[in-house]
């Protein structure tokens, strides 16, 4: 009974409790963190678990099936305009509905007309890169080539910006992770798989056509913001930090209630384009059966409620304590503890990132278990752990982001020649996947808190965290891919020598002994109303 639901809740608890316990244990060292904050944090954790479990069910039942169906339909319909228009429009409206985009453009200008222009440009960036990804998959263009070109362009623009308007580099690199939210990522991943499944892969593909979209769609906004920065039309405004303090239990519940209403609205807006896409496609093209439509509708409802609960938990419960804790550790005598503690938080935090489960599941399915969930999770943990360590080191020492970004990108480009194509594709996608709501609302405030307390420049030293979180896993997954390839080759060489030396090139068919074929009555195979031989067995 309800085994799947049990499993989802178990998974969600295993994903969430480690980070919660770590934060609580660390908080015990500081008197400043008091009773109400603990209460808020624990309530937040509960919401996080419930939200994550329901949302992950919603991904499986709603977001993924819609993505796959729409993706495979635009190919099987064999209409060129669908193949071009759908990704462009889909990318555009999904991005427009993403609350993160409005926040970014609000940060970059006070002029509402400029803000609107930035929002639309960012969304078009997502649309264009979604189209690039779709065409790449369809025409089997090497992902390595596309990455070289796109990331090369992005790094070039970033380098130019460094000279003209250095404050923007970190902000722009962070933007990529912010624009692809928890709804977008699983949907786009499934959309990609939908296209890749029906468009026959060529012989030298190793499954890499199923990935790459997330990576490309995160690069679009980065490039757009860098272009704006180079044009000199924007500058950064610091948001006034919302300082809230609450004491009574009722007040705390009220804060959660208010948060929940807010995120119900936010998530409703960001899920709307997907519902709309499904309705249009269902009426005009897909024409799925009633049972499936019901299941997808329930899945969408799960996604909606689950993500609203999750975001409430993380924003109301995790954000305040994250910010406070970062600052408190930074001010304490053992400031260097920030780096290892940040690494630990990074490793555990990624488990609670909702899209991560969609990614590990998809990877496991598409590789038929060659890359099992557990391994994938470990790699992501290592990656984010590295990223958080580096980010906190930067917030303490104010080392330029370039010292880390450039070598890691360079290394990734080199490894792209050695790592199997599938690993490369998964690697770049995983960057966009791990930089989800947990990173933005827990890790980033943690680093900002530390940076503020030390008195560093938040824009150059704390921002860039999301970019690091999105970059480090890429390196780790590609390194693993390279090692994996080495071992596979070694194992293949070994087995060739050891086994079956006399396999011939002409084949003798071998038949099983005829006596073993038990009385197999051919008449039974026919489906015939008059002839029901099976009754013989019963009597």
């Amino acid at each position: 009974m309800l085994r799947n639901l049990q499993k989802k809740f178990l998974d969600a608890s295993i994903s969430t409790l480690p980070i919660s316990l770590t934060v609580i244990l660390a908080s015990l060292f500081f008197k400043e963190i008091n009773g109400p904050l603990y209460l808020i944090f624990i309530l937040g954790t509960i919401l996080l678990i419930i939200g994550l479990a329901i949302f992950s069910l919603g991904i499986d039942m709603g977001l993924s099936p819609i993505g796959k169906n729409v993706g495979s339909h635009i190919v099987t319909s064999k209409k060129f305009f669908l193949l071009i228009l759908v990704p462009l429009l889909l990318g555009l409206i999904i991005a427009l509905a993403e609350p993160g985009i409005a926040v970014i453009s609000g940060q970059l200008t006070t002029d509402p007309s400029v803000a609107r222009m930035i929002t639309i440009s960012l969304a078009s960036g997502v649309g264009i890169f979604l189209l690039v990804s779709v065409l790449r998959i369809f025409f089997k263009i090497s992902l390595r080539l596309v990455f070289f070109f796109v990331y090369g362009l992005m790094l070039l623009l970033a380098a130019l910006t460094q000279f003209i308007n250095p404050d923007f580099v970190a902000v722009a690199l962070d933007a990529g992770g912010v624009t692809t939210g928890a709804i977008t990522v699983p949907f786009l991943m499934a959309f990609t798989v939908g296209i890749a499944t029906v468009a026959k892969a060529d012989k030298n593909s190793d499954g890499d056509e199923n990935f790459g979209t997330i990576a490309l769609c995160t690069t679009g906004p980065m490039i757009i913001i860098l272009l704006f920065a180079l044009s000199g039309r924007i500058k950064i405004f610091n948001e006034p930090p919302a300082q809230e303090s609450y004491s009574g239990f009722l007040e705390i519940l009220k804060v959660f209630g208010r948060g929940f209403l807010l995120y119900l609205k936010d998530v409703a807006i960001s899920i709307f384009p997907i519902v709309l896409t499904f309705v249009i496609f269902q009426i005009f093209a897909l024409k799925l059966k009633k049972t499936q439509v019901i299941r997808i509708a329930i899945g969408l409802l799960y996604s909606y409620l689950g993500l609203s609960l999750f975001l409430t938990g993380v924003n109301v419960g995790f954000l305040p304590i994250g910010k406070l804790l970062g600052g408190l550790i930074a001010l304490s005598e053992i400031r260097w503890v920030l780096v290892p503690f940040g690494a630990l938080v990074g490793a555990l935090m990624v488990l609670a990132e909702p899209s991560v489960h969609a990614l590990t599941r998809q990877v496991n399915e598409l590789t038929s278990g060659t890359l099992p969930r557990k391994l994938m999770l470990i790699l992501l943990c290592l990656g984010v752990s590295l990223a958080m360590g580096i980010s906190l080191l930067r917030s303490i020492t104010a080392i330029s982001l370039w010292w880390f970004i450039l070598p890691i990108y360079a290394l990734c480009f080199i490894l792209a020649f050695f790592s199997p194509k599938l690993f490369t594709a998964i690697a770049f996608d995983s960057g966009g996947v791990v930089s989800g709501p947990m990173t933005v609302t827990f890790a980033l405030p943690f680093v900002i808190g530390a940076c503020n307390a030390i008195g560093g420049n938040v824009f150059t030293d704390a921002f860039g965290t999301v970019a690091m979180v999105a970059l480090a896993p890429v390196l780790i997954v590609m390194l693993t891919g390279t090692v994996y390839k080495y071992y596979v080759r070694k194992a293949e060489l070994g087995s060739e020598l050891e086994q079956l030396p006399e396999v011939k090139d002409t084949v003798d068919l071998v038949e099983a002994d005829a006596t073993l074929v038990v009385d197999f009555d051919e008449a039974e195979l026919e489906i015939d109303e008059n002839d029901m031989p099976d009754k013989k067995h019963q009597t």
Binding site: F138, T291, E511, A512, V518, D534, H537
Partner: protein
């Protein structure tokens, strides 16, 4: 020997459908017992009823393990798997054995027929043993993607307990088309249903009516012989209750 078709010791194909996380364990287990030729694929289990499938609380991902085993140790393999994975409990999975008629390489065939550890009691398990009538059948329905619901609904109507869905692509000549120079292969679902042999014709008929070639599901329905099978599929409702009571 040369030229003639050689007779070999019979080989069999063992198919195990277990929970996703057990798939790897099972293949390690087979390795440990020296059965070296097996492959794993991923499939979806179905919920016990249509209404319950709407809520998504019971769908599960499954691993399907396909293992080539020597024909004379099939009973032995089944029994060790049953003990290790407790397949007599409800909802744990099914294992069954399908005969292999021909094999395209005598060297490999010979190799397979010798692999695996043997049961102690030789008399009971020799290849020439006359088998009982086959008790089970494996139904296989190949339909257009997303028509697995119709198949399962039809099968449930006439008493099938559950099924497993494998994702596939149609590569038949009449199915693939070209678009902008790229080959397009339509998606298919393959539904496996293990059933008592006496229910077989009835289920096949019902599935054919609901999702056969004349319908939109465009389905092919066929049955494979199953030599032996074990698992939770053949437990009826009362037995499940009984086992639950025993566990309490």
């Amino acid at each position: 020997m040369e030229g003639d078709i050689k007779k070999i010791k019979p080989l069999k194909l063992l198919i195990a459908i277990v929970d996703m996380n057990k798939g790897e364990k099972l293949s390690m287990f087979l390795n440990d017992h020296d059965y070296k030729f097996h492959f794993v694929s991923i499939a979806e289990g179905t919920a016990p009823s249509e209404i319950r499938s709407y809520w998504g609380f019971e769908d599960t991902q499954k691993s399907v393990v396909w293992a080539l085993i020597p024909g004379d140790s099939s009973k032995h393999v089944l029994s060790i798997i049953k003990n290790e994975f407790m397949l007599n409990r409800p909802n744990t999975g099914v294992v069954f054995i399908v005969p292999i008629e021909s094999f395209a390489d005598p060297v490999v065939a010979d190799h397979i027929s010798k692999c695996g550890d043997r049961p102690e009691n030789k008399n009971e398990e020799n290849g020439e043993e006359k088998m009982d009538k086959r008790e089970y059948s494996l139904l296989m329905a190949i339909v257009k993607k997303a028509y697995s619901d119709e198949v399962m609904a039809a099968a449930r109507e006439v008493g099938a307990k559950g099924g497993t869905i494998l994702k596939a692509r149609g590569t038949g000549e009449h199915e693939i088309t070209k678009f902008l120079g790229i080959t397009i292969e339509p998606e298919k679902d393959i539904i496996l249903i293990l059933t008592k042999r006496e229910k077989r014709s009835n289920i096949m008929k019902t599935i054919y009516e609901k999702a056969g070639l004349h319908t939109e599901g465009n389905g092919l329905i066929l049955a494979l012989p199953v030599d032996e099978a074990l698992g939770s599929f053949n437990l009826n409702h009362e037995m499940v209750e009984e086992i639950k009571n025993l566990q309490k």
